[in-house]
Symmetry: C2
Subunit: 198 residues, 2 copies
DNA sequence: GTCTATAGCGGGATAGAC
DNA sequence: GTCTATCCCGCTATAGAC
C-alpha cells in the first residue's frame, strides 16, 4: 500500500488504466486494424511487450473497451428506471441516450465501427447487449402504439430509425459547437417525439 | 475488337472492373486496413503484382471506390431535379435517398467507415461532395421553415438527424427481410415528414 | 513490471521475364 | 497484362534478463 519504495519500473496501478485510455483514443481515431500495439505502448510510455501484463492479446483489449461501454450504457438505462406513460418514457429514453453517449464519443465510435473486428464469440456477446438496449426502446414504442398515443406502422423500423438518428449525433457533435448539451437534448427530444406522433 | 485470339494472360477489359468489385466487397466486409492487396488479387484470380496495372496504390483504389459512389449519388440527386413545395421535395429526397442507397450496401458502408483511412487530400475531396448532398437537404428544410410548413428549431441539426436516420437504414436492411423496398420507402417518408412537422 | 531482443509472419510495392 | 521473385518494412506475441 505504501506509495513510496516501489520497485524499479513497476507502475501496475497506474499503467493499467493508461493502457485502456490510450487504446480507446487511438482506436477511435485510426481504427483497430490500423493501430499497432507499439503505438499504444508509445502513447502509454512503455515498451510494447509490457502491454501484455494487462491484456492477453490485442483482441481482448478491443473487446474489453467495447464491453465496458455497453455495460455502462445498460447500467445507466437500468438506473433511470423509466416509468410512466409512453410519451414520458420516450422523452426520458432520448435524453438518457444523449446524456450517456455525448460525453463518450470515443467509446460510441468504437462500438459502431469495430464490431466486425471482434472474434465471433466476442461479437455475439456484444450483439446480445446491444439487443437489450434496442429492446428497451422498442418496448416503449409498442406500449405507446397499444395505448394509442404513438402512430408507427412498424415498431422495429421506428426503433432502428430513432437509434440511428440519436447515435448519429455522436458522430458530428463537438463540445465547442454553438449548441450546448441541454439545447441538443431538447431539439432531439422534439424530433423523436414528433416522428412517432399521430 | 476481336473477341478471340487474345494474347496469353491478357484480360484488361474484364480484370479492371473485377478489381473494383473485389475491393468493394472485401473492404466493406473487413475494412480497408484489414484487407491486403494479396486478398483482393486472390478474389480477382490474379497475382498481387497484377493489381498495379489498375491502380497506382491501395489508397487510390479506396478513393476511387468512394469517389465513384459519391458521384453516383450526386448525379441521381441532380437527375431527380426536386421541385415544388418543400413537403413534396422532402418526400422526394427521402425516397431518392433510399432508392439510391439500399441497392448499394457495400458502397454506403465504405463511404461511412473508411473516411478516416483516406489521405488528407482525398478526404477533403470527398468531404466536399458529402457537404453538397447534405446542403441539398438543408435547403429543403430551410425553404419549408420559411414557408411555415416545417417546424424545426435548427435546420442544421435536423439535416444531420434525418441523414443519420436514413443512412442507418442501409446498415441493417436486408433484401430478404419481411419488408420490401416500397414499404420501407413509405414508412421512412412518413417518419421524416412527421419529425419536421408542426 | 518493464526492458531488450527476436521469432515468425504478412504487409505494400517493384523488377524483370514472358 | 500477368507472372514469379524479392526488397524492405512493420506487425503480434514471446523469452529471458533485471
Amino acid at each position: 500500500m505504501s506509495v513510496m519504495a516501489r520497485k524499479q519500473g513497476s507502475h501496475s496501478d497506474i499503467t493499467g488504466p493508461k493502457v485502456h485510455d490510450a487504446a480507446l483514443r487511438l482506436i477511435a481515431r485510426h481504427g483497430y486494424a490500423a493501430v499497432s500495439m507499439r503505438q499504444i505502448a508509445a502513447e502509454v510510455g512503455v515498451q510494447a511487450g509490457a502491454l501484455y501484463n494487462y491484456t492477453p492479446d490485442k483482441q481482448t483489449l478491443l473487446f474489453d473497451l467495447m464491453h465496458n461501454h455497453m455495460k455502462d450504457v445498460l447500467a445507466a438505462l437500468a438506473a433511470a428506471g423509466l416509468q410512466g406513460d409512453p410519451v414520458a418514457r420516450l422523452d426520458g429514453f432520448t435524453r438518457l441516450h444523449i446524456r450517456i453517449h455525448l460525453p463518450r464519443p470515443d467509446q460510441v465510435f468504437i462500438a459502431y465501427m469495430e464490431l466486425r473486428n471482434l472474434s465471433p464469440d466476442n461479437f455475439d456477446t456484444l450483439e446480445a447487449l446491444r439487443r437489450q438496449y434496442e429492446t428497451a426502446l422498442e418496448d416503449i414504442l409498442r406500449d405507446g402504439v397499444a395505448a394509442g398515443v404513438f402512430c408507427v406502422p412498424d415498431t422495429r423500423i421506428a426503433t432502428m430509425a430513432i437509434i440511428a438518428m440519436l447515435t448519429g449525433l455522436s458522430h458530428w457533435y463537438r463540445d465547442d459547437g454553438r449548441l450546448g448539451l441541454d439545447e441538443i437534448e431538447d431539439i432531439y427530444a422534439d424530433l423523436v417525439r414528433k416522428s412517432v406522433s399521430r
